[in-house]
Structure formats: structure tokens, C-alpha cells
Symmetry: C2
Subunit: 130 residues, 2 copies
DNA sequence: TATTGTTATACTCTATAACTATA
DNA sequence: TATAGTTATAGAGTATAACAATA
């Protein structure tokens, strides 16, 4: 049953990423950086559940495409904050819009199931924090 | 909300895969091959939503570890069927057992929410076939 | 001393293109 | 002609180890 929460979603994520000429980790990185809320690179590493060294390369490639930029932390000079550029913000909005439509298996459910599912998942996300 | 269906599950999948010294695509491949039901390599490519050429390498590495083997299709000599070895079957059982425990966000839900979620997801999986 | 991020390295995943064998 | 799988290649993701800068 739990495979639904990851394996079954992979084709959809691969397709959406490819539509924007991005990889899934790049999409996750862009989604993680909210407008006017730069994120430290260490936060991205936690979000991706990968080693911090990988974030350097992912950031390099997104920065080269002009989607985000490295900024300084106001007080800690070790930390690099990632902020979306205007192009990055626009792409992020398109990504979110694209991801708004539920996958076909969800759309095939009854309206009651769909709303119940949404409510339960929202409650689950609250439990787990950002 | 939908990010829950993939992004939020990634750390868990990365961790489980690493526990068994496997990669997520390798885990997905092993999970896809049911006992006594060999799967053609083309089916794995669809399941992973990747090009068929990638399955060659993934299969090579799993075969080298003795977890699965290539067999011939009874009638179509182009097709290679992937079957788990006894070691692969045992590993698959451990993986399924390991994945049986829901993630902490789910366990934090009320029992009613948990059963409702399980029922809805099972219905969703029925809609989408194998 | 500990933490953040980078660099170098080796392995894996990924798509594309060209290929062989078979249908 | 079309399909299943392989090989070669280049780019991206991944962990590990060593490192510099900063806390």
C-alpha cells in the first residue's frame, strides 16, 4: 500500500521535471525555496536527504541557468543562502500550477474520497513540520 | 499538498535503500518482481519511467550481486525475463517488512485517519492497475 | 573544536543514438 | 518494418574523504 506514496508517483515526477528540462532534485530544490524566504544550503541537503556536497553541484547548475543565486547569511559568514531569481520564481509558480492537478488515480476516486484524502494528508503534513 | 506524495517520502526511501546497500531504482526493481512471476525488462523500464537502456545496467548490478537472474521468454526470443534468486526473494521479503511500518507523519494521525487513508489509497491503486 | 560549504573521486542513474537479434 | 535489449557516450546525482573558512 505504501508504495503508492513514492514508487507510483515517480513516473509523474519524472515527466513533470522533464517538461521543464529539470531533474527531480532540481525541482525539489526550487520548490523548497519560498518567495522572499532564502534557504541555507544545509536545509536543501536535509530536504533532499543527501550529502551536503551534492547541493554544491545542484546549486551550480541552477545558478548557471539563472534560476537562483547564492547570497550571504546576515550574521554567519559560513552559510550560503539560496534565493530564487525572478526567472526562478516564475518557473516555481508554473511548477506548482502544473503539480496542482492530481494524478489520474486520484482523479478516478469519488469526490468524497478525494476531499477526505486531501484533508488527511494535510493533517499528516502538519504533524511533520516543514 | 501533493508534495506529500513524493518529496516528503524521499528521505525515508533513501534511508531504507541505504540500509540494504541498494539504490532507490534497485529497490523499485526488486519490489516489482513478484515471487514466481518473472517480469520482462521492458516492464521494469515502464515501472521506473526510464529508458530501456538504463535497465541493462541496473539488471547487471543486481545480477552480479546474485539477487536476480535473466531468463528466456518461453516464446519470444527477444525478451529477457527477470526472476529473483532465493537471495533476492529473501531480500525482497525483508524490504517489504521494513516498508510495512508507516512513516512517522502517518503514525501521528488518529487511528481513524490511518484506516481511512489506507482504504482510500488501496482504492486509488486499484484504479491504476499494476 | 565543531559547522558550512567546496573540491576531488568513484560509482550509479539518466537520455540519446547506433546497433544486433528476433518478431 | 517494428520491437527488445545492448553498447557507447555525456551529463547529472550520490557518498566519501580531505580541505578552507568561519563559528
Amino acid at each position: 500500500m505504501q508504495e503508492f506514496l513514492f514508487s507510483r508517483q515517480r513516473p509523474r515526477w519524472m515527466a513533470i521535471s522533464a517538461e521543464f528540462d529539470l531533474t527531480p532534485p532540481q525541482v525539489m530544490t526550487i520548490n523548497r525555496i519560498e518567495p522572499d524566504r532564502p534557504a541555507p544550503m544545509s536545509d536543501i541537503a536535509k530536504w533532499l536527504a543527501c550529502d551536503a556536497s551534492n547541493v554544491t553541484g545542484i546549486t551550480d547548475r541552477l545558478e548557471k541557468r539563472g534560476l537562483l543565486e547564492r547570497r550571504n547569511h546576515p550574521s554567519d559568514r559560513r552559510v550560503r543562502m539560496l534565493a530564487l531569481t525572478p526567472e526562478g520564481l516564475e518557473l516555481r509558480a508554473e511548477l506548482q500550477e502544473r503539480g496542482r492537478t492530481p494524478p489520474p488515480e486520484i482523479l478516478a476516486l469519488s469526490p468524497e474520497d478525494q476531499t477526505a484524502l486531501r484533508d488527511i494528508l494535510l493533517r499528516a503534513m502538519e504533524k511533520s513540520g516543514r
